[in-house]
């Protein structure tokens, strides 16, 4: 294996990256225990192939593909927030019922109190922020372990939900923007406009970064890797859009149904927002730093307590967003909204996607990939007529495998000095 070196900033010699060395590095990282999202992506492909071959007519239909977005949206949103919490090595067990409480606040304001949609939406998201501040304060300033704080909150929020809804009551939300969020689809024109805009912007950002670094004579990724990445994303988005803009109504004459589900750009928007925050701002850098080594961060002058509070705020805020998506999909809220498997699916999505339970390692995209895995399992096994009991058991096993992969990868990393 010959390597050429080149000089970068200030004359430091570094290995010149090529497409081959890039691939070699990637394999090296995986062997060193840094698996990232790879197991989840492979798992997703395998699951899709299995369900697709078993139920090719239903699973591979455009209608089912669209349905997957709506099914995954709520859990994925909650998982995005959980990733911030997990990055610090903390946990939020209350995120599911926090979603339920925030959704109920919104539904009650919309119906019984007669407020407008923007007010109800703002109140739901605001409730999330308040919940997060409370949890973060208890963990960071009082010093109660997050496991205990959020376990208590899990119970308490379940009670809050029961009380504000009244035992067993079910509140339906009126038609409108909120209800269409996780139910309806964009028009075909808008679907294509957004898809093409996303691809073009992604390509531009990648290209501009490449040029900026080249101008400063810094080491760049080989252009082949960048083209591969842009091409891959373009293919994924454009093919998905092509499928989703097919007619999928059973009887198109009565009501036509086509276009990208609104949930998709909502997921995509939050994915871009939080990825930007984590990887391009000093706040995000500090979140990783505190998760990696809190004492080192403190010595570097990072306000560790404030960072700790902030991740709970983001966690509960995203739980509120998840709550809105859950309520929107069901068209109503009841005492079980955000309950049963919601939280475990969200934690599962983050961990299956590749975020570490030990802190310091994770990306927002993991919520999307892991959320997709969970939605596919749920959806595919339902189509294959498995009982919900079997589905739970299977999902539990998958989560255990993902957590096991995480733990083993960590040991492997420690063994290869790759911590």
């Amino acid at each position: 294996m010959s390597t050429t070196t080149l000089e970068t900033a200030g004359g430091v010699k570094v290995v010149k990256p090529t497409v081959a060395s890039h691939i070699r590095d990637y394999i090296g990282r995986i062997r060193g225990g840094d698996l990232g999202a790879l197991p989840a992506v492979l798992g997703l492909v395998i699951l899709v192939l299995i369900f697709g071959s078993a139920r090719s007519d239903t699973f591979f239909s455009a209608g089912n593909f669209a349905n997957l977005f709506n099914q995954a949206a709520g859990v994925t949103m909650i998982a995005m927030g959980l990733i911030f919490v997990l990055l610090l090595g903390e946990i939020d067990l209350s995120a599911g019922f926090a979603a339920g409480v925030c959704g109920a606040v919104m539904a009650i304001l919309l119906t019984e109190k007669g407020y407008s949609e923007p007010v109800a939406l703002a109140a739901a998201l605001g409730s999330g922020v308040v919940i997060g501040l409370l949890l973060g304060f208890l963990v960071s300033k009082v010093g109660i372990p997050s496991f205990v704080v959020t376990l208590a909150a899990f119970l308490a929020f379940q009670g809050v939900l029961l009380n504000i809804l009244g035992e067993g009551k079910n509140i339906s939300i009126p038609d409108g923007f909120i209800k269409s969020l996780n139910k309806d689809s964009l028009s075909v024109t808008w679907s294509w406009v957004l898809a093409i805009a996303a691809v073009v912007i992604f390509a531009l950002v990648q290209f501009m970064r490449y040029r900026g670094r080249a101008k400063r004579n810094l080491v760049n990724e080989p252009i082949g890797i960048i083209l591969l990445r842009v091409g891959g994303l373009a293919a994924l988005i454009l093919i998905s859009t092509a499928i989703l803009t097919q007619e999928r109504a059973i009887n198109p004459v009565i009501a036509s149904l086509k276009g990208v589900p609104i949930a998709a750009p909502v997921i995509g928007g939050f994915l871009v927002l939080w990825t930007f925050v984590l990887s391009r701002t000093s706040y995000g850098r500090h979140v990783y730093a505190v998760g990696g080594n809190a004492e080192a961060s403190r010595r570097a002058g990072i306000p560790v307590d404030r960072i700790r509070i902030s991740v709970f705020v983001i966690g509960s805020f995203m739980a509120a967003v998840g709550g809105v998506m859950l309520v929107s999909r069901a068209g109503s809220v009841d005492p079980n909204t955000g309950g049963s498997s919601t939280l475990l699916y969200a934690v599962g999505a983050a961990v299956i996607g590749g975020t570490s339970l030990f802190g310091g390692k994770g990306k927002i995209i993991h919520a999307v990939i892991g959320g997709a895995v969970i939605a596919v399992i749920d959806n595919g096994m339902f189509l294959m007529d498995f009982s919900s009991g079997t589905r739970y058991m299977f999902t539990g096993v998958i989560l255990l495998i993902a957590a096991g992969v995480d733990a083993l990868a960590r040991r492997r990393a420690a063994a290869t000095g790759n911590r």
């Binding site: 730093a289 080594n293 080192a296 961060s297 010595r299 002058g301």
Partner: protein
């Protein structure tokens, strides 16, 4: 002889609850010189360093920097003065890369966005100025670096900020022969560039190899601060283990009455 000390501590006391760890400690750090801080395990070296860097607040005593009395309450205060510390327990984040670690807590930004190219450029230039010429990539995670490379990153992080005093707490403790030599060379180069360097070490060979002055702590008291050329290995070892050596060091009886006889400070 170097002119005036860049950093001067006088009468530093520090207790943890009922346990007094530092008693009336004085220390002078001169620009362009390496001052070795020696002492047995538990003598209070790391505690003194953490007092200088604002991790601990001192109970009594004064800190003078560049002729002015200063109060250091936090790591931020210390770094604003130009005091940087490389800690015994390395303060690096394993999950971040070289550049990210070097700029931790002081990231360069353009608007709200991190200015990665500028940081990478500055990191590279700093490493090059320390004659670090080969790393695989500036974007390598520090977890994958060798002990010596990690130490180098920690030192580079400390000199990145036009710092004037750099304190290194046992920088060679975990290193092999070759890497120790490299780090010591680096330490010497910092002083030659005009910085005031404090080097904590248990290894007498290292101490005599690079330092201009030696300050010996004994049970939380400053036994002596002397020029390295004025003492022998054996004398320093006696200062470390017994607090005195011949006419140097703490008086035999009643160490609490000890005033300030540290020759390096007085002359």
């Amino acid at each position: 002889m170097a002119a005036t000390p860049l950093l001067e501590l006088r009468g530093i006391d520090k207790s943890f609850g009922p346990v007094q760890v530092l008693h009336d400690v004085g220390l002078s750090v001169y620009p362009g010189e390496v001052t070795a801080l020696v002492g047995d395990n538990g003598a209070g070296k790391s505690t003194l360093v953490k007092c200088i860097s604002g991790i601990y607040t001192i109970d009594a005593g004064t800190v003078t920097f560049d002729g002015k009395q200063v109060a250091i309450h936090s790591p931020r205060d210390a770094s604003e003065l130009g005091i940087e510390v490389v800690y015994q327990d390395l303060a690096l984040c394993d999950n971040l890369d070289i550049v990210q670690n070097m700029f931790l807590g002081r990231e360069k930004k353009s608007g709200i966005v991190l200015d990665e190219p500028t940081m990478e450029q500055m990191a590279g230039e700093t490493l090059a100025s320390l004659s670090v010429r080969t790393v695989k990539s500036l974007r390598q995670l520090v977890a994958s670096l060798s002990g010596g490379q990690r130490q180098t990153v920690a030192i580079a992080k400390a000199v990145l900020w036009n710092s004037r005093v750099v304190v290194l707490d046992e920088p060679t403790a975990a290193l092999g022969v070759a890497q120790t030599a490299q780090v010591l060379e680096l330490v010497r180069r910092l002083a030659d560039n005009g910085l005031g360097v404090v080097l904590i070490s248990h290894n007498m060979n290292d101490v005599f190899a690079v330092s201009d002055r030696i300050a010996a702590l004994y049970l939380g008291r400053m036994a002596a601060q002397v020029k390295a050329s004025d003492v022998t290995h054996a004398q320093v070892v006696e200062l470390i283990t017994g607090g005195r050596s011949g006419n140097l060091g703490l008086p035999p009886e009643k160490p609490t009455d000890f005033v300030d006889i540290t020759p390096g400070v007085q002359k």
